[in-house]
Subunit: 382 residues, 2 copies
């Protein structure tokens, strides 16, 4: 396999972007990515998108999006794995370059969620229709059950979960692209509306519009595009049972464990070597489960990692320096690519007020549904 490098990146602000359509969101991110690398053409596009068919009545977005760039003709295909669509698009683009088939491939993600659809119902189509959704449950309820299981098994508290949101809002306040650029307190979280007990409003990522795009090229050609390429060291993907009830332990996300193990093995690293990570905090409990599953808290209790500062900026291993899904926003198909963009910035020393000093190795973890799919990437300075 050829080594692959990320050489350009671009993203929109995340938020309620009522004036921008799906194709406009994509074009803003994609053109920024092309410009950042001085690239004027593509050999391929893989775009992560969960539900444009349901959200805005448009399937078949691949050709539509390259056309919006003025690049009609370029192969362009949508990849879908619910909220892990962006991470899986990155993986597909990586495979295309690694194979030797193509030289300059874009991995992008886009979602237009604020356009009138019943968002909670659309998102619920990522859960098992027959085993779960038919009976009335949606994602806040599923993650509430995961939280309850984690509390019962590990003594995790609502304060622990609140600290995840507090930390990520602190980080997000420093990110110009974030949907929420304000700090919140533990009291704010615990006083916010109950959504699905024990999860409150401020434990939940928001409904967002947005797009993100990165450019991948062979590592051997990376310096044609940038002085500071970021190399993809490892990629790992995995699945687990769709329905929560079919898992041995709802508090353990097997797909996250497996995808991380595969990515670390390919990268030849141990998790303790990771300097900065973006993980899938769609709900506060998810960050606790995912950092634990990825071994990012060095054997300490992952539920305490935000509260203790271990995963905060300035701590041992900052997690979700972008603000995470909670504060940066979560346009579901774009999230996995936006995670890679944060690591790209961190490893290039371009993260501004969010910079983790001397970050050499970074990781992303992007998850679909209640953890039925997960994809992990490991990056280093090129």
């Amino acid at each position: 396999m050829r080594d692959v490098a990320m050489v350009g990146a671009g993203m929109t602000h995340f938020g309620e972007l009522w004036k921008l359509s799906l194709r406009e969101l994509f074009a803003e991110a994609a053109l920024a990515a092309l410009e950042s690398a001085g690239a004027d053409h593509l050999d391929g596009l893989w775009v992560g998108n969960m539900s444009a068919g349901q959200f805005v009545g448009q399937e078949h977005i691949g050709p539509m999006l390259v056309e919006q760039l003025g690049m009609s003709g370029v192969p362009a295909t949508r990849v879908e794995s619910a909220c892990a669509s962006g991470g899986m698009a990155l993986r597909a683009a990586w495979l295309e370059v690694a194979s030797g088939q193509s030289e300059i491939v874009m991995a992008a993600g886009v979602e237009k969620m604020n356009d009138g659809a019943d968002v909670t119902a659309v998102l619920a189509t990522a859960a098992d229709q027959e085993a779960e959704v038919y009976h009335g449950i949606t994602f806040p309820g599923l993650y509430a059950m995961i939280a309850r299981a984690h509390m019962a098994a590990h003594g995790t508290t609502v304060e622990d979960m609140a600290w995840v949101a507090v930390k990520n809002h602190r980080h997000g306040a420093l990110n110009p692209h974030a949907q929420f650029r304000r700090e919140i307190t533990v009291e704010d979280v615990l006083g916010s509306s109950l959504v699905a007990e024990p999860l409150r409003l401020l434990n939940c990522s928001p409904v967002s519009d947005g797009a993100a795009a990165v450019l991948l090229v062979p590592l051997s050609r990376a310096h044609e595009f940038t002085d500071r390429p970021v190399r993809i060291l490892g990629s790992g993907a995995a699945t687990a049972a769709m329905a929560l009830a079919d898992r041995a332990d709802p508090a353990t996300l097997d797909a996250v464990v497996t995808s991380a193990t595969r990515a670390y093995r390919m990268a030849g690293i141990q998790p303790a070597q990771i300097d900065v990570a973006e993980v899938h905090d769609c709900f506060s409990i998810a960050e606790i489960c995912c950092t634990g599953a990825m071994g990012l808290t060095d054997g300490c209790n992952p539920a305490q990692a935000a509260r203790s500062g271990f995963t905060a900026l300035g701590g041992r291993r900052p997690v979700n320096t972008s603000g995470g899904l909670k504060a940066k926003g979560h346009p579901v198909g774009a999230t996995g690519v936006a995670q890679a963009i944060e690591i790209f910035a961190q490893l290039r020393g371009e993260a501004g007020d969010r910079q983790v000093p001397d970050a050499h190795i970074g990781a992303t973890q992007n998850m679909g549904g209640s953890g039925a799919s997960s994809v992990v990437h490991v990056f280093t300075r090129g």
Copy 2:
């Protein structure tokens, strides 16, 4: 890049399969593919599916489908490019094996269309919502305009189009998996209900349920799985303007021309070397456009190719020996993979009454929307 071979294949019958759900359809095809190659595990799955979210309220089908095989854990991702979803899933699986990342990867496709959804409206989400569908047009209307443009530019007649359907029903009558196993006449076609002038009911592919799956491995390992592997010689994909009105000539499908050119170049062949091909005859006019765009009629008028017998079984270059989308059926996400299965059978000499004698090189062409995406593969005996 590593050379890649197809070593196993399985598919369901195509048709109105009211008693089988999406996951049951997939499992039937996938288990047959695994069994045919004596394989008991997978390193990855790419599944083509256009609109399970809209058809059956289920996105995120990757993890659900590998779980149905008893293989939870295996990376599994959906690929969508409207009716070219299956062909693009094949391309993604090919890239994964060609890259050296994985050894045994399944490319599958599945669609459950007969489950209560407004099928024509769902399919129309593959056209440009803003430029086309909002104004009321759906696919029969779009292809009717393509037909009118072709008639005006090339003198194509409704009889020419009828012959495409007649030929493909003759072929389909020989295919045990086909939705329609009966012959029809030109008079039947011309006497059938008008759908969108000049297209009549028997010019249109049906609404179908079905699934198809193939197994890809490195060519170097193919003989562990079968004595008769089929090698993927070339893969080419391309896009074109989404909206028909944005194309220079509606009767010329640029994405088909480009994808075929790319696949032939990679394969190192000329179209005249192709012994048998499956092309995307969603409407009769599409087969005429696609065979022309792919150079399959040796410079003769592609509109005459069915009528003259050139593309019929027994002719110079049989096209759609499976019955094509018209007679075999068109479960949209499965179609591209089912095309590969027909070529697999032909090149292995297993096509029974449909066998093209001494078939050495075969090609598939799978298309999305009114031709905004297209993917072509070229195969040969391993």
